[in-house]
Each structure stands twice: as C-alpha cells, then as structure tokens.
C-alpha cells in the first residue's frame, strides 16, 4: 500500500530564514501522526507543504505517491485541511459554509445536501445550521472547520493546532470527534504544542524545534527513551531553588533547575522525595508525577514547550 506521506530532506526557506530545515518522516495509512513543537518550530509551514498550498524549497515530498509541485489539485482533492486560523466564511451561515466548500470540489448538489446534514450531526451543530458563523463559540467554530475539512471525504486530514485557545471542555469534545475519525480509518496529521494532546491522539510523533526534527517515536517510546518513569517537582521559593539544588547531588538520575521549581528525574519518586527531606530540605510544595512529553521536550531542547 502506498504511503500517505513520504518526506526526505524537506526544506522551506523564506529568504534567509530556514523555517523547515531538511526534515524526514513518513506516515502510513490509518496512522495518527503528531508534530509537537513550540511556536515558530515550523509546524504550520510543514503542514502547508503537506497540503500542497506551499511549494518546498528543496527535498522530496510525496503525498499519496504524488508530487505536490505537479499534482496539486488531485492531492488537495484527497485532503481535508483544518488550518491554524479557522478561516470560516463569515458572510455565510453554518450550512452554507459546508455546502459552498463542497461545491469548490465540484461535488454535486444533491450529494452535498445529504452530506451537509451528516456533517452537521457529526459536528453537533444541527441547531446552528442557519446561523451566521460569527455567532458561534470558539469550540463550535473549530468543529465546523473540521466538518468543512471532511466535506470531500478525505483520506488524510491535516489539523494545525486544532485545540489551541479552546477551554478544556471544548477540547474534550473535539478530541472525542477526532477519535471517531481515527476509528473510521482516516489518517490524521496533528500539530500541537500541548503534550497531553499528543499523548491522547497520536500513535507516533516527531518533536520539532527550530525547523528540525529532534526526536521521533511513540509517546510512550519517547518518554522511555528520553526521560525517567517518574518526576519529583519541588519548590523552595524562587530565590532558594538554585542554592538547594547544589545539595541534592546523587538524588534521582538527573536534576533540571527551572526558575520556579526543581525537577528530579527519578525511578521512584516517593523514595527520592523522602531523601530530599532527609537531607534537611523541606519544600514549600512537592509533587510526584509520571513523566510526560513535556519532560522529553525539556530534555531535548533545554526549553519549556509552552511559555509560562
């Protein structure tokens, strides 16, 4: 079976700025593939190249075995695109947004009328069908954008930061919809800077930073390879963290000193926390948790994923 995406040395330069710097990755049919990275990592640039709306500067790229430089329209007919900005047509109603988008693909009217009903149900927007899109909440707009991307029954759905800016409840509704698509066998490519989103939705992911891929694997695999089983977070007050850290040598496998807390990478969090207290340092607050992709990111780049 032909791979959904094959990228080799994929590069995009804007003048002197190399936004995507020679990345290699592949995506197989039915996979949920994540691109995790901070702002400016080159995620949206990558997504536009995958969506055949931005031409690469160099490297090879095949989408469903076709070269986007030459077969743009056919590739785009295969794709669903959910851009970072919703880009809904605010001069139209909810249902008209879906209907006109289907007409852009040349889909017949009768077919579309049925399909729009199905998509409104999928996006849980049946009650809003004749409302102008300005009147929708952020979460509803996002669901409508996803529904719009599904009009042409895409085999590959590209989602650029699908839940950024949404409240937790709206995010969970959205994740639930995306799970359904995954079950239906749609190949998903999702960019995000939320590690919990990547953990929830992605079978496999790449971590991007400064236009390059710095790690690749399953969420669990990446955590195993780049972090410990558990992490102890202790806070001694921002002026004392550094001073205390100097006395914690030998505890855990590794220390990470952040401005507001110390992270102790550890095989047994409880044991190491007791050890810290036993050395006479009583943290203001402490927390033992499982390692996450955030820790992987911190380890690989020395920076936090989400600016705090």
């Amino acid at each position: 079976m032909v791979a959904v995406i094959r990228a080799h040395g994929l590069t995009k330069a804007y003048g002197d700025l190399v936004a995507v710097d020679g990345v290699d990755f592949g995506v197989e049919p039915g996979e949920s593939f994540g691109v995790l990275g901070p702002n400016g990592a080159g995620k949206s640039t990558t997504m536009r190249m995958l969506g055949a709306t931005l031409q690469r500067t160099s490297g090879d790229l095949a989408i469903l075995g076709r070269d986007p430089a030459h077969e743009g329209p056919i590739i785009r007919a295969h794709l669903g695109v959910v851009p970072q900005q919703d880009n809904l047509d605010t001069e139209l109603t909810v249902a008209e947004n879906l209907y006109t988008y289907g007409r852009y693909f040349g889909l017949p009217r009768a077919h579309l009328r049925e399909r729009v009903d199905g998509l409104l149900a999928f996006a849980q927007l049946e009650e809003k069908r004749d409302v102008k899109v300005d009147a929708l909440s952020g979460g509803m707009k996002r669901r409508l954008t996803i529904a719009r991307g599904l009009v042409n029954e895409p085999s590959l759905l590209l989602l650029d930061e699908p839940t950024t800016g949404l409240d937790p409840q709206a995010r969970h509704i959205l994740w639930d919809r995306l799970f359904r698509l995954k079950e239906d066998g749609v190949t998903l490519v999702i960019t995000t800077h939320y590690m919990d989103e990547a953990e929830q939705l992605c079978d496999r992911l790449v971590v991007m930073d400064g236009g390059r891929i710095v790690a690749e694997g399953s969420p669990q695999g990446l955590i195993r390879a780049h972090s410990t089983r558990e992490v102890v977070e202790v806070r001694f007050g921002s002026d004392r963290n550094l001073e205390v850290a100097a006395h914690l040598g030998g505890i855990g496998r590794r220390l990470e000193i952040l401005p507001d807390r110390i992270l102790v990478y550890s095989d047994s969090g409880e044991h190491d926390l007791q050890e810290i207290v036993a050395r006479g340092f009583m943290p203001v607050t402490s927390l033992v948790r499982r390692s996450s992709l955030e820790d992987v990111f911190l380890r690989l780049t020395g920076r936090s994923l989400v600016d705090e």
């Binding site: 969506g51 295969h78 006109t100 007409r103 040349g106 199905g118 085999s155 749609v186």
Partner: protein
C-alpha cells in the same frame, strides 16, 4: 460514513478527470462555484450594500441632467442637438458599470483576501487560481453590469435612449464591467493595506469628473486630451455614447479591443498573483 479511507471519492474522481485537460493545474473549470458563493453571501449578508449602487447614478442624473441641464440646454452630438440629460446618461451608465465592478474588486476583494482568508480557503480545495480569479472578477462584473442595466432601464423610462442601437449597451456594459473588475482585482491583489485602497479612490473621483462625463474633453489642451483618452473610463464613455446615439465608426471597434485586452491581461495577472500568494 464520514470519510472514505483511501477510497477514490467523488472529489478525487472529479480532480483526476480534470487533470487530463490542458491548464488543469491552474483551472478546474469551476468558477461558477465562486459565483454561487457570491450569490449566497449576497443573500445572507450583503443585500443592502448591493442595492445602494442602483440609486447613485439616478441621483447624478436628476441633479446634473435635469438640475444643471436646465441651465445648459442642449449639446451637439454627430450633428444632432440632444438634451443635456441625454448627453450625460451614457456616461453615467459607463460610470455605474465601473463603480460596481471597482467597489467589489477593491474593498470587498481586499476584505475577502486579508480578513476572511477566503482565497486561501478556496485554494486549499482542488480549485485553481484561475477559477478564483475568473469567479471573483465574474461576480464583480455581474454587480457592475447589474447597476448599468438597472440604470439603462431608468433612462429608457425617462425617454433618453433614442435608437435601437442602445440595446447593444447591455453587452457593452458587461464587457466594460468585466474589464474594470479585472483591473481592480489585479491592483488590489498587490495592495497590503486599506490606505493604499484609499489612494485608488483618490484617482477614481477625478477620473469620474473629468473624463468627458459632464462636458466634452475638447475643452482641454491637446496633450491632456491624449492622457484622458487613455483612461478606461473615457474609453467606456465614448463606447456608450457612440452606441446610445448610433454614431458607429471605427473608433467603436477600438474601444472594444481596448477592453478585451484590459480584461484578458487583468485576468491573467490576477490568477498569477493568487498563485504566488496562496500556492507558492
């Protein structure tokens, strides 16, 4: 169900069929889908703004044609004395075709391009840049031609059209509106702020006032007459006047050729610009 995992769907079959035709990378043959979008947006959002364009030329006709016209008396055209209102009616017709097309392809297109992200959205489907250019220019043409034809009905009711040649004003208005829309969309596609659009307006008003709209340009020195004759509005007014009074000469073919070239070049440049902005 909701998706067709790797199946050949209707959208893909349509794109594959099209790919065998020439120009398929820039044109999917679906600019009508963009006209449909314009029509739906008109119904849902823009009906009021659309209607105002019908009123404007009628106000000018009443104020100048009958108000000022009372002082002016008649004007001689091709050896015939015509009332002043009849003299300016074809010019206002040309101006209304221009205004409809230009309003739509400047402020509306700029809004759709930079605030709605509409063209980016359209081009993330299997549409090509020529579909979008042709659809949007076509929509603006419909608007300009609608104003011109609406105005033609009004002036006919006022008894200001005198020959059957005036029926040719309809296709002439369509051509003029298309050419202005092509020009407007080309210019807008290179603009990056609303301020620049206002500059465009700064040129439109003098063009409207001084292109032989209200009096013959023979009142100007020769060099200025040549400059004015190069402007699209003077070309349009000359075409419309010629048809209105049945003064048909070789000049008419020249005007038609002028607009045909403007329309084609504008369409080409717009498509190229959309490609550069949203597919490169």
């Amino acid at each position: 169900m909701i998706t067709g995992a790797l199946a050949t769907t209707a959208a893909v079959a349509i794109a594959e069929r099209r790919a065998r035709r020439p120009l398929s990378s820039v044109y999917a043959g679906r600019s009508h889908a963009i006209l449909l979008r314009g029509l739906l947006a008109l119904r849902t959002s823009n009906a009021l703004a659309f209607m105002t364009g019908f009123v404007e030329p009628v106000l000018f006709l009443v104020a100048f044609g009958y108000g000022v016209g009372g002082l002016v008396g008649t004007v001689e055209i091709g050896g015939v004395e015509v009332p002043y209102a009849a003299y300016i009616a074809p010019a206002l017709l040309a101006a209304s075709a221009m205004n409809g097309a230009i309003i739509d392809t400047t402020f509306n297109v700029f809004f759709k391009m930079h605030y709605l992200g509409l063209y980016r959205t359209m081009m993330s489907t299997s549409l090509g840049p020529l579909d979008v250019a042709l659809g949007e220019i076509g929509w603006a043409m419909i608007r300009g031609a609608a104003y011109a034809i609406g105005f033609l009905v009004v002036v006919t009711a006022f008894g200001l059209t005198t020959t059957w040649w005036a029926l040719l004003l309809v296709p002439a208005a369509v051509l003029v509106a298309f050419a202005f829309a092509s020009l407007g969309m080309t210019l807008t596609s290179y603009m990056t702020s609303f301020q620049q659009l206002n500059w465009l307006n700064f040129f439109l008003l003098p063009m409207f006032l001084f292109s032989g709209t209200f009096y013959p340009i023979t009142t100007y020195p020769q060099w200025l007459q040549w400059v004015i004759e190069a402007t699209p509005l003077w070309q349009a007014i000359a075409l419309m006047r010629g048809l209105t009074f049945g003064v048909l000469d070789g000049g008419l073919a020249g005007h038609v050729a002028y607009f045909a070239v403007l329309a084609t070049v504008g369409l080409y440049l717009t498509a190229r610009r959309l490609d550069a902005l949203f597919l490169r």
